[in-house]
Symmetry: C2
Subunit: 574 residues, 2 copies
């Protein structure tokens, strides 16, 4: 019997693609004197929890809702009595679904050391400033170094994805090693930064991989994923032919994509203008660390658009998913005061609609076309977008490189997990060695075998959207989809000490008919007031406040109505 | 100035795909006492030749001629005064164009030590028995071992290709390392044997690769090469639907392909019958080392075909290139006494026509169809054949894995070399670091730079075909193609001591009109008699005898007629 055991606990990111947060727990066999003294808490079967390593802490986009508008965070309540065991939080890359939740849970986790690569750290720091109104220290990872976190040893490995500075993490434990292969594709020609560090990946394989955690989102798509750099060529070719404005839209975190568009603009001497809050922010951050160099002479502000000739303009615009209120939607709705769509303009959608968003995206495209723009999107033109996630061959390469004993597909839905099992089988491994987990389902490793462990109870913690203006739209759309339990919104307007400046406002859709349920809502408002009042802490954790309200409201509604509406809380601090 | 220099000398295999033979020459700076004492021979610019390593020694299929019928061997005359420097001959894999010439030149090279992987060694030993009528000792390579050959250090690395036991060779020299990446594809699911040893490949890259020699034959084809194992699935699916005989044709060296067909036959309980000399031979060899296991109960001989029901038969047949006199051609021409094509039979061409062979292959297909067979070939059906050579992505992976300073594309034509340069450029390397060589063009490496060296004069040494019966056919076809200088055949019938049993017979096509040139031919015959007579050695090197005759005849015809016909010599030993 081994002295150690390891338990893998996905607090999120397993099914539903987003909200990534994973725990590696190292347990040590207890001295026989203590054996079985305590069965509860952190002691299990004679093993005692020694070290916890956390990988990623991202927000999630609930499937049934508008992606990119409202979101959820991982439920960290499981960790609340274990924060003294948390040795570090490691981040793989800077996408929202891997970093976005940290400001909401960092205090709850006891502020452990945080490690991330450069751009990831930059995005995290910015997020903290915005969401938690404070600074955070993040250690930039050294790819040459082997870190020790308790009895974990960790190496970061450079890989490629749709955002620079993406890493995999090789986690060594006393009983075997994990290869944490989250979001990646094997891009042999990344437009910026190095190709994946194949030597380090295969070296991990040579040292021995007990379990491979692998991105599985591309497991249905044959072949290798297209290199990010093919998109750059498309930009150049299309820009060359464009007589009016060149307008490109993609995810604002896709710095490589944006940089390729900027480089084409430089080539054709077009001024670069960023539209949309998220786009302006992420490009500013990337510029600051040199990842997005733009000559001053070619940078222009939104207001400058009134005087710039169309053929001297390259707009890079947020809102590729046709999010309500986004810069592109406003442009299509003729709501941008500085610029209009005109014949001769070319709009390039350099991202595919996220499943569920297709209708909105196609409506947006029709709006743009009706105003005379040439619109290119992947249904009609190749090579406008390249997924950041590896297709089947990328995934198979990673398996061959690491040659693991066990597999855990992460970052995909059940459908992707099943297809990943097929790939594993194709490569001659035993499908039974694949653990296709759902959220909270754990796996125990004892150095020889692996088996499903206890399920950790988690729930979705819903967080409000980026801007209050979007709320009406959310409700409207949710009415169609949240058909079983409905949704309840609570708006709080507070001062800096989290004192309510006015009574909370509650409204709902698809839950109960509000006019008939005045008492129910009055009770909910009083509940919020009760929760909000007794706060006297100096640093207000708005995240925790919101979660408290959400938990209490959920219980309250369930007690009275027997239904669990989705509860969304927006705290507006004046 | 470095103490050492290395010169890479391709004696073949650079342009024209086949006839692979490469030299790595290590030169050491001479003591100043000896400096410039000798400018000739093995001393160059104050450097003296110390060690030679030879990689591969294959036959070639001259483009203008029938592939697989007549062939050429590398011209090793450059090495004749350097055999004391040859430390070893290393083989990468068992294809004819990499091993086939050894029996013809081994004596001339001074019988140096030979290293090869298992199947390659098997094929080489067999070749020696057949062609040189003697045994040869071949050391089976150990993939864990680093070999020393003079001041060269060498590791063999497992890769995948269309024949098992294919290797790459990592060659370390005092001034930098070469990665000899001959014929390969990155097959993640090879039907037999391991996937490429990615760790060893990337480790070579980590140790530093001064120059990558890379297969470039697939440099025009996008994507990754299809895995060999997809063809196995096709065999199964097609066999399931076949009511009559299942007939598969491919290259007889493609043991993996053949094994997959055999496995399908086992599954559907069909007796396996091999047709054609080369097919019978290579499958026998592969069976002997366990690479092609066939249960006795499912193996049948050609003669058994008369009594086997068609739906119990799986024929694996040589002649996929429609070679004249091959087993498949005979079958289509109703010349096989034991078996006939009938309606319900299915013929699968699991190989693409080699460029230049298309007409013959299509004629053969029509013959088969007209007799009622269903014929599947890659124009009409996918996944019947997978190239053994890496496509663009395979080639790019190898570049990323090894990250070389210089590049030499090998095993392709000029067109493939140029396309390989494009790939190198795509990956952000300087195209000028690519040396696209033609045969005999050398490259000097001094540890810092690389530059084109002196050109070694080589010529094609033509060897007769596999069987004398084919000769008439060769001539017939060559009349169309050898239009400038024609071709001359010399047939010698000798005893075991190489004594002529009758006067040599000479005939030609496209050279001069024989009836008007009786004297010319009489002179040639006398010349052959002269060369053949004074042999008194115990061991007769027929290869050398043929080359002597070829060289002398070429000179003779040129002196008298001012033209250099291709000279083909067939020695029949009774």
């Amino acid at each position: 019997m081994n002295k150690y055991k390891v338990r893998f606990v996905p607090l999120g990111g397993i099914v539903g693609v987003t909200k990534n947060m994973y725990l590696y727990e190292l347990y040590k066999k207890m001295d026989s004197n203590f054996f079985n003294k305590s069965k509860k808490g952190n002691n299990l079967d004679g093993y005692s929890l020694q070290d916890i390593l956390i990988v990623d802490c991202g927000i999630g986009f609930p499937k049934e809702k508008d992606l990119g508008v409202d979101f959820v965070i991982p439920d960290v309540s499981y960790l609340e009595d274990k924060i003294d065991k948390i040795r570090a939080i490691l981040f793989t890359h800077g996408h929202e679904d891997h970093i976005g939740a940290l400001p909401y849970v960092y205090d709850t986790l006891g502020n452990p050391p945080v490690f991330a690569s450069k751009l990831t750290a930059m995005f995290l720091e910015n997020k903290f400033k915005q969401e938690a109104k404070r600074n955070i220290f993040i250690e930039i990872v050294n790819f040459e170094k082997e870190y020790s976190f308790g009895d974990f040893k960790v190496r970061f490995i450079r890989v490629t994805h749709s955002i620079p500075d993406t890493t995999h993490i090789f986690i060594k434990t006393p009983i075997g090693n994990f290869y944490h292969g989250s979001d990646f594709k094997l891009d042999l020609t990344p437009p910026y930064g190095p190709a994946p560090d194949f030597y380090q990946i295969t070296k991990a394989g040579k040292e021995g991989v007990m379990c491979l955690l692998s991105d599985c989102l591309g497991s249905e798509r044959p072949g290798l994923t297209l290199s990010e750099s093919v998109v750059g060529e498309t930009f150049e070719n299309e820009m060359r032919k464009t007589k009016g404005k060149f307008i490109m839209t993609t995810f604002s975190s896709n710095i490589s994509r944006i940089r390729q568009c900027v480089e084409a603009a430089i080539k054709f001497n077009r001024k670069v203008v960023f539209l949309g809050r998220s786009m302006k922010e992420s490009t500013k951050l990337a510029s600051e660390i040199g990842y997005l160099p733009i000559p001053d002479s070619l940078f222009a502000n939104e207001e400058d658009l009134v005087r710039l000739p169309p053929n001297k303009v390259c707009l890079i615009v947020a809102g590729s998913q046709a999010q309500y209120g986004s810069a592109l939607t406003k442009l299509a709705d003729k709501q941008n005061p500085y610029v209009k769509i005109m014949p001769g303009d070319k709009v390039i959608f350099s991202s595919d609609p996220i499943p569920g968003n297709e209708n909105e995206v196609y409506e947006l495209i029709e709006d743009l076309v009706s105003q005379g723009a040439d619109v290119f999107y992947s249904d009609i033109a190749d090579q406008l977008h390249s997924s950041g996630h590896g297709n089947q061959e990328d995934l198979k390469f990673l398996i061959r490189f690491t040659n693991p004993k066990f597999f855990i597909p992460i970052g995909g839905t059940i459908r992707h997990q099943k297809q990943y099992e097929v790939l594993v089988d194709d490569l001659g491994y035993d499908k039974k060695k694949v653990f296709s987990l759902s959220e909270g389902e754990t796996v125990w490793f004892d150095g020889v075998e692996a088996r499903l462990g206890e399920k950790i109870e988690t729930k979705n913690i819903y967080i409000d959207a980026y801007g209050v203006g979007d709320v009406g739209n959310i409700v409207l759309r949710d009415r169609k989809t949240i058909s079983t339990d409905g949704i309840v919104f609570a708006i709080l307007i507070v001062d800096k000490n989290a004192m309510l400046l006015t009574r909370p406002k509650i409204f709902s859709r698809g839950f109960v008919y509000e006019k008939d349920e005045k008492e129910l809502y009055e009770g909910a408002i009083r509940l919020i007031e009760k929760i909000t009042k007794p706060r006297e802490r100096k640093v207000i954790d708005f995240g925790k406040l919101k979660r408290d309200i959400i938990n209490n409201l959920e219980d309250y509604f369930f007690k009275i109505k027997g239904r669990r509406p989705m509860v969304v809380v927006e705290v507006i601090s004046l």
